[in-house]
């Protein structure tokens, strides 16, 4: 359990920092409410429309490719840990795995999934 101590300290520090910063801001800053103040602040530009925008389907494609390659990437960690021990078999295994997904990448590229039209 002791090995997780740094993690715990970091989590507490992160949450604490945000909490303290927001809390102090809330306590110290002068509080004034007006309708104008509640409008959306967009770097000085006048904001238009609501907070919800229908996004283009290509964002979804990007997101799903991201998920798939994140899954691929995470398998590389344990693989790296045993590559020396298992040797060729593990190497070939990962080669097959990555080749199959690499074909997926070629497919996505050929079908124009990365074109920003």
């Amino acid at each position: 359990m002791a090995s997780y101590l740094p993690l715990l300290v970091a989590s507490v520090a992160a949450i604490g920092f945000v909490g303290v910063a927001l809390g102090l801001g809330f306590l110290l800053a002068p509080q004034q409410f007006s309708r104008l103040k509640r409008t959306i602040y967009e770097c000085g530009m006048e904001s238009t429309g609501g907070g919800w925008r229908q996004v283009h389907i290509r964002y979804y494609l990007m997101a799903i490719l991201f998920v798939i390659f994140a899954v691929e990437g995470i398998f590389l960690f344990p693989w790296a840990a045993v590559l020396g021990e298992i040797g060729t078999f593990a190497f070939v295994e990962m080669l097959v795995f990555m080749s199959i997904l690499f074909f997926g990448l070629i497919y996505a590229w050929r079908k124009g999934a990365f074109e920003w039209r």
């Binding site: 199959i100 074909f103 070629i106 497919y107 050929r110």
Partner: protein
């Protein structure tokens, strides 16, 4: 395990390679030629079949027993390759008229087939589960492949949501079984059951959830509700593929699981599975009677057929297993025949209602003949596969002395004759209007005539002289039960 064992996985490797090749060739194929990618895809399935034939009779355990290649898995792998072949060969006309992304379509059919082949060979929950997901992922895309049709999209969404839900049930069940027995391997689970016969509530809940998850996949009552809408909305070749391929894969999973893992506790579940079987067939038949659309009728009829096969699961032993294998083979040939008729009829007319069949015998003798043979076989008429395989299955099941189950199954079988004959009446007897009589005869492409004839011969062969198929089914059953 040594390197040469990989030779036994060549059929799967060939299929994956074919699928990827088809996808790659698709990049460089002009649009009007893409539907013809069916031929290389079908050739891949044939090559895989040839590699499979070489390893007949060989038993192999691979990957520390997670995978077992025996005659049971051979039987089903051969069946799935046959299904893939006929579905792909039956598709080009439909694909040309209705679908885009033809290359992806054929490749996904092959990938789903690889998944199904993985399920039957798995002796372990997780390998079987991920193979099942491969089947399902392929189907999610295939069902909604007609992107520009609202019905297909709706079917895809329904199938995806209920499929994901049922996978969740299955996984939760698997994790409870793992928690109780400490293993996901069927053999280890059976061994744990020998030493500890009762794991209590957690075990019961685990098995019930696994059964519910698989019940969704084979569309057993009360988990059937997705089937009619999905069958109706999916592109026709995919409906055919769903009704035979995906169903057979689910049953292969169930049979191996119960034979190798849960056999020691099967007695606790026989009555429950039997009740589900009776409800499934009764519901399927009663609703099928009311259908006016041929696709929906076949959808409900396939729910009823799943009920008959469940009779075999409820009374599982070596004999009923060979009965189930035989029945699944006969049902596959029969249903593929029926669906190919519907596909070709739809290609020529754009229709799929039962009324639209009027005058079919005048317009195409072959279509009418194959439809008649298939429907009579589904109805379980003597001389056709359906009678022989059901007879074999129910006789074997009778040894269990669950008389109510056998009686209700036979009664259902007789009930179903009615609606199959209604369809044939439209095709043969109901007169055409004068205007309709002017319609020209159909011209079927030669490959269509070949596949239809082949399936009809298969149905009659199984129905009249099934010894080859019985031998294969018994060899498959022996792989699970020994002897």
């Amino acid at each position: 395990m040594n390197g040469s064992d990989f030779a036994f996985l060549l059929p799967e490797i060939v299929l994956v390679a074919t699928a990827i090749t088809v996808w790659a060739v698709d990049f460089f194929t002009p649009r009007d030629r893409k539907p013809d990618l069916a031929w290389p895809a079908a050739a891949g399935a044939l090559v895989a079949m040839a590699f499979l034939a070489i390893s007949w009779g060989e038993h192999r355990e691979m990957f520390l027993g997670t995978l077992r290649l025996d005659n049971f898995s051979l039987f089903f792998r051969f069946l799935f390759l046959t299904v893939a072949f006929f579905v792909i060969v039956g598709s080009p006309g439909y694909v040309r008229r209705k679908l885009r992304n033809a290359g992806e379509f054929y490749g996904l059919i092959l990938m789903s087939t690889v998944g199904a082949m993985g399920i039957v060979s798995s002796r372990e929950f997780l390998t079987a589960y991920i193979s099942l997901e491969l089947v399902a992922f392929g189907f999610y895309v295939l069902v909604s492949h007609a992107r520009h049709e609202a019905r297909s999209n709706e079917a895809g969404a329904k199938y995806l949501i209920l499929g994901a839900f049922s996978s969740g049930l299955l996984l939760f069940g698997i994790s409870l079984i793992f928690g109780a027995t400490g293993s996901t391997g069927y053999a280890a689970i059976a061994a744990a059951l020998e030493t500890t016969p009762d794991f209590g509530m957690v075990w019961t809940l685990g098995v019930a959830l696994v059964l519910a998850g698989l019940g969704f996949k084979v569309a057993a009552f009360p988990f059937h509700s997705w089937a009619p809408d999905v069958y109706e909305g999916a592109p026709l070749p995919i409906t055919a593929f769903l009704s035979v391929g995906s169903k057979a894969a689910g049953f292969a999973f169930l049979i191996r699981l119960f034979a190798e893992g849960l056999f020691p506790v099967l007695d606790d579940w026989r009555v429950a599975i039997g009740v589900v079987a009776v409800l499934t067939m009764t519901f399927g038949n009663l609703v099928a009677i009311q259908q006016a659309n041929l696709k929906r009728l076949l959808a409900y009829s396939s729910i009823a057929q799943a009920g008959y096969i469940l009779v075999g699961v409820a009374t599982l032993n070596a004999d009923t297993t060979s009965g189930m294998l035989l029945h699944i083979a006969g049902y596959t040939a029969t249903n593929l025949g029926a669906f190919l008729v519907v596909i070709y009829f739809h290609n020529l007319t754009g229709k799929e209602g039962i009324d639209d069949l009027r005058g079919l015998y005048r317009r195409s003798f072959l279509l009418t003949l194959v439809l008649a043979v298939s429907l009579l076989s589904l109805a379980g008429m003597p001389l056709f596969a359906g009678f022989m395989t059901k007879f074999y299955l129910f006789t074997a099941a009778a040894a269990s002395q669950l008389w109510w189950l056998i009686a209700l199954a036979v009664a259902n079988s007789i009930l179903s004759v009615y609606y199959y004959l209604l369809v044939l009446r439209q095709a043969f007897i109901t007169p055409e209007s004068e205007e309709e009589e002017q319609r020209p005869a159909f011209r079927l492409p030669s490959h269509a005539r070949a596949t239809l004839s082949l399936l009809m011969v298969l149905v009659l062969w199984i129905g009249i002289y099934p010894s080859v198929f019985v031998d294969a089914a018994e060899a498959g059953s022996r792989a699970l039960f020994g002897g």
